[in-house]
Amino acid sequence: METVIVIALTVLALAILALLLGLALALAGKVFAVKKDPRIGEIVQCLAGANCGGCGYAGCSAYAEAIVSQGAPVNCCPVGGKETADAIGAIMGVTAQAPVRLRAQVMCSGTTDLARRKYAYRGISDCLSVAKLGNGPKECPYGCIGLGSCVHVCPFGAIKVENGVAAVEYEKCRACGACVSVCPQHLIKLVPFDTDVWVGCRSQDKGPVVRNYCQVGCIGCGICVRNCPSGAISVQESVASIDYSKCIDCGLCAEKCPRNIIWSGKKQMAEGDTLTVEGKQ
């Protein structure tokens, strides 16, 4: 009998304690209520949840809040793409413009067999620290260091280093831009996903210098500029660059380039081939 009383008392005491605490919390919930737009929660549900920061905000919930409170555009999530933009658009009552899908592109073609080395590096396996040692182990001070800081930072496992140059697997790339900001050589750029041409070099050295240290580097001759029918290419500081808002993907520049530095090999890259001059010709 006594045991029953003890058990009853225990249960009762805990129940009362829990009830009181529950009531206190409910009351506090009312008193300290923060008015929050319910749409924020709904938008967070729509977002990818990768918290990659590709939208330009601290994370998925920060972006959701910015959409509701600051009127941020609904199509910034590079991971979710069009479906996510549509879903958020439905919540916010706006029609979303389809985001232009981008992909990261490493603007260097100087693989170990093509670019001359200045020194052999052994040490911390991180591009940022090697970049401090005479701009990297390659003689070209602008080239890919190839230790894969971008590989480590990519949240989607889309980058790998092949023959000393980082390469992006386009299908996996979500254009979050993490690699763009981490690359100490500023070699990675976001380009339209469907584009077929890009300049695989960022060397700002003059032609003879580039010729000396890399078999494929851009010498800034300007043949591509003269051949481009839409005026999308310009040569600045001895390196060609393509303005993708004007580019019509004709591929003439890639054909005419005497250094084979303008690539038009998206399809072959997607199949996992490595970047080699032979592969292109």
Binding site: T10, L14, L17, G29, F32, S125
Partner: protein, 193 residues
């Protein structure tokens, strides 16, 4: 006063909650990859420990002891701490949104942190009075902060080291934590009295 100082020093160094009592290991290992998050977590734990020490002491002294229900300590404390963390979260969100933004994600994690419960139970076990309990709770939190900051500093450096593949990542963190605990065992010899 000197007594409180000794109590505090003891909780931080000699009887460090993480390294000597092995409490609160999950946040210690889980949130110690970066210094910023480690500091955030440490401060959140310190804050919660101090306040929960005070409240659990009051609950024990004025509710459980008079009703002769001391054997309910553990359950009752868990209830109280969980509710308290919820309450703190609400209050912070309302009045200190900036602090909430920096501590916010760590607070729910603390709800089930054994170190917080451990402090509350040890307060009762050691028969501390109200002020002693609060000082003990605060110092235990500072001890946790110290531990998690130390490990995060080690782990930030570990990223750049060449570690054999089987030891990369979590195993190396466990080894680093073990070595820190070993180092802290040196404080056992400290004569505080």
């Amino acid at each position: 006063m000197g007594n409180l100082l000794l109590l505090s020093l003891g909780a931080v160094l000699v009887e460090n909650f993480v390294f000597v009592k092995f409490l609160g290991i999950c946040p210690f290992l889980g949130v110690s990859q970066k210094l910023n998050t480690a500091v955030g977590m440490g401060l959140a734990v310190t804050f919660t420990m101090t306040i929960s020490s005070a409240l659990t002491w009051l609950l024990h002294r004025f509710v459980l002891v008079p009703l002769e229900l001391e054997y309910l300590n553990t359950v009752a404390f868990i209830l109280l701490i969980a509710s308290l963390v919820q309450l703190i979260e609400m209050v912070l969100q309302k009045f200190l949104p900036s602090l909430y933004a920096s501590l916010g994600i760590y607070l729910p994690l603390i709800t089930t942190n054994c170190a917080v419960l451990g402090v509350a139970l040890l307060n009762v076990q050691n028969g501390y009075d109200f002020v002693e309990s609060m000082v003990y709770g605060f110092s235990a939190g500072i001890g946790f902060l110290l531990a998690i900051v130390l490990l995060s500093l080690v782990r930030e450096r570990l990223i750049f080291s060449r570690i054999p593949k089987p030891f990369q990542g979590f195993p190396s963190a466990l080894i680093a934590g073990g070595l820190l605990a070993l180092a802290f065992s040196g404080f056992q010899g400290l004569q505080l009295a």
